[in-house]
């Protein structure tokens, strides 16, 4: 079973994302900021990461840059999931190495389309 790490400082969003991802057939792990997520990835590299942009301690873009420098850090598909819906900002995330981008709010169908577009299926 493939693992998706959900990184968001909102417990509610993590819960919603977990439910959807489990329905899609993923095993789900959670982290509440980029630093925690990075620590998690150093132990077990997940197949996919769903990451918020604005978070305390370490934001999504910082996390992504550091993840890509880790051994094996190129392999996870990283999908941003943020309330930010400005196209220049979305471009910034994609240029920063994100594989896909979800604008909140999202539902199960959107999540499935975006994971497929990122090239990761459960």
């Amino acid at each position: 079973m493939k693992t998706c790490l959900v990184v968001d400082d909102s417990r509610v969003i993590r819960k919603v994302a977990r439910r959807i991802l489990e329905e899609l057939g993923f095993e789900v792990a959670e982290a509440s900021d980029g630093a925690e997520a990075l620590a998690w990835c150093r132990v077990v590299m997940p197949e996919a990461v769903l990451v918020d942009w604005q978070m305390p301690v370490m934001g999504g873009l910082d996390f992504l840059r550091r993840l890509r420098l880790e051994p094996g850090g190129q392999t996870p598909k990283v999908v941003f999931c943020s309330v930010e819906n400005d196209l220049d900002r979305i471009r910034e995330a994609l240029d920063g190495g994100a594989d896909e981008y979800i604008m909140k709010p999202f539902d199960g169908e959107i999540m499935a389309y975006k994971l497929a577009a990122a090239g990761v299926a459960a």
Binding site: N85, L87, I90, E100, M103, I110
Partner: protein
């Protein structure tokens, strides 16, 4: 809605568009028609239908049929179909047509997601040596208007559309997303009812018609299919729903629902 009202709506849909509407599905009918009744200023679906019988206004009749004809719209539905068109079908046609325009028709193009997916794909990866002309048609006036405006909600642009295509081809205006004029101008639109005589539309090298045939009555479906195959040029390609059987004179192309018109078989027919 009374059983009589539901039967009346089902009859209208079949008469006007060949749509098979199950009059027993009370919830479906109500959920499609209640928003229409509100929009048109009626107190209930019953009042809307009464006005429709009294006034015999064509526009109102069509708005009811259109409401029942609504389909789920997503970008790049079944990505392998688009990949096949881009990587095999269109390059092959380009070689055969030798510089002549390749005509593609998206029949029942709804609010534009399918034909614009093709347009964006061609803008991102032009077919070498090919000039592709995109035509799109739709029955519903409201859908046609929406499609031509190129305006989509945040929810709509996240259904099937990869983020990189979004940032490349859309602009954000307030909370909506507008498809660039460059992509919109690649497509020519017109209103077409698939149960009408389609021969006046001419011939196309690729004909795409998905999500409509399964919703039709058997009679209307064979009539529409005959129109669509008639509009497909010899040696062309027909794209139907994944579950569709191979039409006579066609052969499957390896992706469900995609068929090649066999030039010899058609010439003999």
């Amino acid at each position: 809605m009374t059983p009589g009202e539901r039967a009346f709506v089902a009859w209208l849909c079949e008469q006007r568009a060949g749509l098979a509407v199950d009059a027993d599905k009370a919830y479906l009918l109500e959920s499609r028609l209640a928003p229409l009744a509100r929009r048109e200023g009626f107190g209930s679906v019953g009042e809307l239908l009464q006005a429709l019988r009294d006034r015999e206004e064509e526009q109102l009749v069509w708005s009811v049929v259109e409401a029942m004809a609504q389909r789920d719209a997503i970008f790049l539905r079944d990505p392998p179909v688009f990949a096949l068109l881009r990587d095999q079908v269109l390059p092959r046609l380009a070689r055969q047509r030798e510089g002549e325009a390749i005509r593609v028709w998206c029949a029942a193009a709804g609010s534009g997601q399918e034909v614009y997916s093709l347009a964006m794909m061609l803008a991102d990866a032009p077919i070498a040596g090919a000039r592709v002309e995109l035509f799109a048609s739709e029955l519903a006036e409201r859908q046609l208007e929406k499609a031509q405006s190129g305006l989509y909600t945040q929810f709509e642009v996240q259904r099937g559309l990869p983020a990189r295509m979004l940032v490349r081809h859309f602009e954000k205006t307030d909370e909506a997303f507008t498809l660039s004029a460059r992509i919109r101008q690649m497509v020519r639109w017109r209103r077409v009812n698939l149960i009408d005589d389609l021969s006046r539309l001419g011939q196309f090298d690729v004909v795409v018609c998905r999500q409509v045939l399964p919703a039709m009555t058997p009679d209307a479906r064979s009539r529409a299919l005959a129109g669509l195959t008639g509009a497909t040029a010899s040696g062309g390609c027909l794209v139907l729903d994944a579950g569709c059987e191979t039409p006579a004179g066609y052969r499957p192309l390896g992706v469900a629902g995609v068929f090649a018109a066999e030039a010899e078989a058609r010439a003999a027919a």
